[in-house]
């Protein structure tokens, strides 16, 4: 068992962390909104934690608060994400379908350039030497594990409540939802903000985990990977993001013996999964049960 964790511990944590980012896109998708903004909020949350963890201005805070500084970083990332998500979401969510996705891509690109130009964020090099919260990498399961559990519980409850049904009504038919008294804009913004807030907290947890933080955390490719977890896992299932992340994060490891050609195979898996599992991995199980 110990040997297993030595070998695959890091991978396990990565799966949990990436699955959480998948869930951050699952909520907007539940309300029919295709967003790629999560990765920007993830990056932002990481910067918040990195700055609070390393910048001299917070030295006194760190000395006074000790380990309490870490939950405070999460809280700061959460609040900043919520405020920014509302500010971005209110205008952007008037857009439908692919327009919203493109607007969120644009938002992430602008955010990256702005961050690169902020001296406090360390420019292209980023911030490093972020204090570790635990001795071993695997211990970060105490961060990501409970958060993932809470997220899944949240999703379970949401799906069976009036709030979740409002989201799904907007997804099924926005116009009819409005005619049936559903506050369409408020629900779209709410679903978007939940996702962004989650991504911000995951970023804040990831900064100490990864030890360094820079603009490469928020690339377009990484953002699309999050979407791929949801779609490959199954966008209509609460298990989809977890299944998708497990497959797509583990795959490059499994393919490691193939060295340089493994990313080519990774691409092929994406294509084949789209063609042969249009409802995702979760769809395979649902299909068998039916």
């Amino acid at each position: 068992m110990a040997a297993f964790f030595d070998l695959y511990g890091f991978l396990c944590i990565m799966i949990l962390q990436q699955a959480l980012l998948g869930y951050s896109l699952y909520f907007p998708l539940m309300a029919g909104q295709l967003s790629l903004a999560s990765i920007g909020f993830y990056s932002l949350g990481g910067y918040v934690a990195a700055i609070m963890g390393t910048h001299p201005a917070f030295e006194a805070w760190r000395a006074t608060l000790g380990w309490l500084m870490i939950p405070l970083e999460w809280l700061a990332a959460l609040l900043l994400s919520v405020v920014l998500a509302v500010a971005v979401g209110l205008p952007a969510l008037r857009l439908r379908g692919i327009y919203l996705a493109l607007a969120t891509i644009a938002f992430v690109q602008v955010l990256n350039v702005v961050v690169l130009n902020m001296p406090i964020a360390g420019g292209a090099v980023g911030i490093f030497g972020i204090p570790q919260a635990f001795e071993s990498r695997f211990a970060y399961i105490w961060f990501f594990g409970p958060l993932l559990l809470l997220t899944i519980l949240f999703t379970l409850r949401l799906e069976r409540s009036a709030a979740g049904r409002n989201f799904m009504a907007v997804r099924e038919d926005e116009l009819a939802a409005g005619a049936m008294g559903v506050r369409t804009t408020a629900n779209k913004v709410l679903a978007f903000v939940i996702g962004c807030a989650l991504a911000g907290v995951v970023g804040a947890m990831s900064a100490p985990f990864l030890n360094t933080w820079n603009a490469r955390q928020g690339t377009f490719d990484a953002g699309v990977a999050c979407l791929a977890y949801v779609l490959i896992g199954g966008s209509r299932s609460k298990w989809g993001p977890l299944l998708g992340a497990a497959l797509l994060v583990a795959l490059p490891e499994v393919l490691r013996p193939l060295k340089d050609s493994r990313l080519i195979l990774n691409g092929m898996v994406l294509v084949l999964a789209c063609v042969y599992m249009p409802r995702g991995i979760a769809g395979l199980f649902a299909g068998r049960r039916a």
Binding site: L95, A106, V113, L175, V224, L231, V271, C274, P278
Partner: protein, 316 residues
């Protein structure tokens, strides 16, 4: 603000803007027929740049599976440009067959086409890396033959410099635009293409081979992508297999800015972003990469259908 300064920026902006325009048109053509965005377009851009480089220089050297391997022949740059673009067109067709056709046949969720086209992009980009390595390559300075590297003239006593490459960018893009306009509006095939874009079912009832036209559209789209990749590559060098990603995203901003699916819109959007970047004040130059997206974000909020897009009002 002198006249020379203005002219210099205008020329820089027009030259980049025209390349953005033809690259963005590759997205527009596919979008107008299938209503989806081909996220592999950026990878075809990269592929075009690498293929033309290989055909005109003859080797990549340092790393990758093909390290040290030498092409038995080399082509003069104009021919290599055409051949590279043509091969990119074929790659565009392969993208359609791999990423889009199987999903269309299954009437799958349009979102999946986004992921499958990204999958194909991943395959292409990593194939390039696998074969040629991740190094930066620049064209030799004599790639344009005996032409001087730049023309300098004076306006009001101040010099204005036009790199020969910029002229090539501009002229090739204009020729492509003219050819495309003629193809779409002046030929029978173009008419059928427009009919297919209007309504696929009606088009197939009229006896148009829709499948063949989709494939043809991807060829033209890939050709435009490869060509613009080569032009950018000649101008700024090939900065690794991923260098198309950033341009691919920027071209997305171009098409949304102009209006999704609108061909004049893509041209206008390209020029607006090219000029916007060129005229950015020097002290904001580190924000150059954000110009396109900031413009896009603003335009989406003010005019969601883009500068030249039609109405987006939904039918009840």
């Amino acid at each position: 603000m002198t006249l020379a300064w203005f002219l210099q920026n205008l020329l820089n902006g027009l030259s980049m803007g025209s390349v953005y325009a033809i690259f963005a048109l590759g997205y527009t053509l596919v979008f107008s027929i299938l209503g989806i965005i081909n996220f592999a377009h950026g990878a075809v851009f990269t592929l075009g740049a690498y293929l033309t480089y290989l055909l005109s220089v003859g080797q990549f050297g340092i790393n990758g599976l093909l390290a040290g391997w030498q092409l038995p022949f080399t082509l003069p740059f104009p021919l290599a440009l055409l051949a590279g673009a043509g091969l990119s067109g074929l790659a565009g067709m392969a993208v359609e067959r791999l990423a889009f056709k199987p999903l269309r046949a299954r009437q799958a969720d349009a979102l999946l086409a986004l992921v499958s086209s990204l999958g194909v992009a991943l395959i292409l980009v990593n194939l390039i890396q696998y074969l040629f390595g991740a190094e930066i390559y620049s064209y030799p300075s004599d790639v344009l033959g005996s032409l001087p590297p730049a023309f300098i003239f004076k306006v009001g006593g101040k010099p204005v410099a036009v790199r020969t490459v910029q002229i090539v960018l501009f002229v090739v893009s204009l020729v492509m635009l003219a050819a495309l306009a003629w193809f779409i509006h002046g030929t029978k095939a173009g008419k059928a293409l427009r009919a297919t874009a209007e309504n696929q079912d009606t088009a197939s009832l009229l006896g148009i081979n829709v499948d063949a036209f989709i494939l043809g559209t991807f060829f033209v789209s890939g050709l435009l992508g490869g060509l613009s990749g080569t032009l950018i590559g000649v101008s700024f060098g090939l900065s690794g297999p991923y260098f198309g990603v950033a341009y691919g995203l920027k071209a997305l901003a171009v098409i949304v800015l102009g209006g999704l699916g609108s061909i004049p819109g893509a041209v206008l959007g390209g020029l607006v972003i090219g000029l916007g970047e060129a005229f950015l004040p020097p002290d904001l130059s580190s924000y150059k990469e954000a110009v396109a997206y900031a413009l896009l974000f603003v335009i989406l909020l003010v005019r969601p259908q883009g500068l030249l897009g039609g109405t987006t009002e939904q039918k009840v």
